[in-house]
């Protein structure tokens, strides 16, 4: 039966499907490949007709030029600090709040939860100028705190954690732990946290990516080069008078490699986490 289906469908339509996917895969990967090619070629190779499509020998030179133009490693370090600290903070605060919404009884719980959901509808640019003024007043300009602290607000994270805890942490377990005399925080820490590791993984990936790629807010509050995140620093590459494309693409390439490596290592989890979020909400 199944071999019959197999034979029948090995036809025209199947060829179309493969062709379509092959083209899509090629177009998806090509710009990344080309970025690598340019990162290894001299600027002049790019201005040829046709431009180079094979790797050259300027890998090291181009990257040295990047290092002399921007503080590449400093900016990567800043991005790492911002993304890691914010992600850890968000995981803790959102799971704690999600736990309270899922398992505790207190007055106004539902109204407060809906209020959190409503905040998700507001475009972040609406409060941009006053936010900038607050950061100035706090004297946090050029300070990574300006990115980290406001980044801790995450309505989606609370929503996500509440859903997950509601359906995966049994009430009986919570009650039993309480009867045994566990404090509320210990119930959270010893009962809920071990159960919600998959939810942590998903939220961590989403949040880390978001913070790593954020551009507008860091652009507004980070004005000094020493505080730049990698996205802001990369932009510095193209502001030069002499456009050295080999150098520019070397910078973007090396700033992209860590993300792609992490993605390839975690890709199952990564794609699964996205689809989980989509289907449930």
């Amino acid at each position: 039966m199944s071999s019959n289906v197999r034979k029948k469908s090995f036809t025209f339509s199947k060829t179309i499907v493969y062709l379509l996917l092959a083209i899509a895969a090629f177009l998806s990967i090509f710009p990344l490949y080309w970025m690598f090619v340019m990162a290894t070629n001299h600027n002049s190779a790019i201005n040829n007709v046709p431009p180079a499509i094979l790797p050259g020998s300027e890998l090291v030179t181009n990257f040295q030029n990047v290092l002399s133009t921007i503080d590449f490693f400093g900016a990567i370090g800043n991005s790492l600090i911002v993304s890691t600290v914010t992600t850890i903070g968000v995981l803790f605060l959102c799971s704690l709040a999600g736990f309270a919404f899922a398992k505790f009884h207190f007055k106004g719980k539902n109204v407060l939860f809906v209020a959190i959901l409503v905040t998700m509808m507001i475009p972040p640019q609406l409060g941009l100028i006053p936010q900038y003024i607050i950061i100035t007043k706090l004297d946090w300009l050029n300070d990574l705190k300006a990115i980290i602290v406001p980044g801790m607000i995450d309505a989606f994270g609370i929503f996500w954690m509440r859903q997950y805890i509601s359906s995966n942490v049994p009430d009986e377990l919570v009650d039993a732990a309480k009867i045994d005399g566990c404090s509320n925080f210990r119930v959270y820490w010893n009962i809920a946290v071990p159960v919600i590791i998959p939810a942590f993984a998903t939220l961590a990936i989403i949040k880390f990516m978001y913070m790593w790629n954020d551009f507008l807010w860091p652009l507004v509050v980070l004005r000094e080069e020493s505080s730049y995140t990698i996205q802001i620093a990369l932009r510095g590459l193209i502001d030069n008078y002499v456009r050295d494309n080999g150098m520019i693409l070397s910078g973007t390439f090396w700033a992209t490699v860590p993300l792609i490596v992490v993605f390839l290592l975690l890709n199952r989890l990564f794609i699964q986490s996205l689809t989980e979020g989509a289907v449930k909400s």
Partner: protein, 312 residues
């Protein structure tokens, strides 16, 4: 077993049982409030207050340093009579259509292809198509900016040359800029939407298709009466998120057109940024933010309305 355990633990502490169960409730409520308070405290400072203050600033004249002056609707008047604001709005909407519509349609087709049962190398295709999403927006804008070089050695122009098309000045022409920016958006987000549609397709029970097959349904009928209706919630989600995302378009145009803020590619958020942080006109910038807010609300409402009709 469990019962005796419960009884034992109750009998262990009979004297203050009643008192502790009462305070237990209060304790739980207090813990609850404490656990959710970080969100509300931070949101009050960095979310709610700035939003309210924006609505206030929209009616003031202020450069961030001197005294604020109440100017009534002057800022709104100023914004709404500025041709560049209307340009930024129409640019945003055009790039929304150019970047989003093909993305959703092709995303569904790719998801459908990936979902066909007999495909080999499924995970290779899935990973490749998803890869652009993992690249940062700034990197994408820089790479595509170089690919869309105006000269005849620009990669896109070289490829067009193979088909006998003359080189296009991408960064200086009305449609060139928009096509270049929309392509960046399209490339980065197509895989994301494909994966989400794929998840939606996989959630449709196979029995539905089998039943339809027994009833003699054609492929087209299966798509029309099973796939699209079952996919509707996901469709609404993607239309919704990509619309809100497109209205907030900022990074790609800023990196591509740079500090010239060329009017062919300026978007509403870019306009807002320029008014606020380049011209230091906080009043008009806030007015623009308020207008953007209402546009997002109206468009979201239209979106939900239209998406609800898909497949009905």
């Amino acid at each position: 077993m469990a019962k005796t355990h419960t009884q034992a633990s109750i009998s262990n502490q009979p004297p203050n049982k009643k008192k502790s169960s009462l305070s237990e409730k209060t304790k739980e409520a207090i813990s609850g409030y404490i656990y959710i308070s970080p969100f509300f405290i931070l949101f009050a400072i960095f979310g709610l207050f700035p939003i309210l203050f924006s609505f206030y600033l929209g009616f003031q004249s202020w450069n961030g340093l001197g005294e604020m002056k109440f100017v009534g609707l002057q800022n709104f008047e100023w914004i709404l009579t500025d041709p560049l604001f209307w340009k930024s709005l129409s640019n945003t909407l055009i790039m929304w259509v150019l970047g989003t519509l093909p993305q959703l349609i092709i995303g569904i087709i790719l998801a459908y292809a990936l979902n066909s049962a007999l495909i080999r190398f499924k995970s290779f295709f899935r990973v490749s198509i998803f890869m652009p999403y993992v690249t940062s927006t700034v990197a994408v804008a820089i790479v595509f900016g170089i690919m869309f070089n105006d000269q005849d050695f620009g990669l896109i122009n070289v490829i067009l040359g193979w088909f006998g098309v003359d080189p296009v000045s991408w960064s200086t022409t009305e449609w060139g800029v928009k096509i270049a920016i929309s392509t960046m958006v399209f490339w980065r987000w197509i895989g994301y939407n494909t994966i989400i549609y794929l998840a939606g397709l996989q959630a449709i029970p196979n029995e539905l298709y089998e039943a339809a097959k027994i009833d003699g349904a054609t492929t087209r009928q299966k798509i029309q009466y099973i796939t699209i209706p079952m996919l509707r919630p996901i469709l609404i989600l993607t239309v919704f998120t990509s619309t809100i995302g497109a209205l907030q378009l900022f990074t790609e145009p800023l990196v591509y057109i740079g500090r010239t803020y060329r009017e062919e590619g300026i978007t509403v958020v870019l306009y807002l940024y320029r008014e606020a942080f380049v011209n230091l006109a906080y009043g008009p910038a806030s007015a623009a933010a308020i207008i953007l807010f209402f546009i997002i609300i109206v468009l979201s409402a239209i979106n939900v309305f239209v998406a609800n009709r898909i497949g009905k």
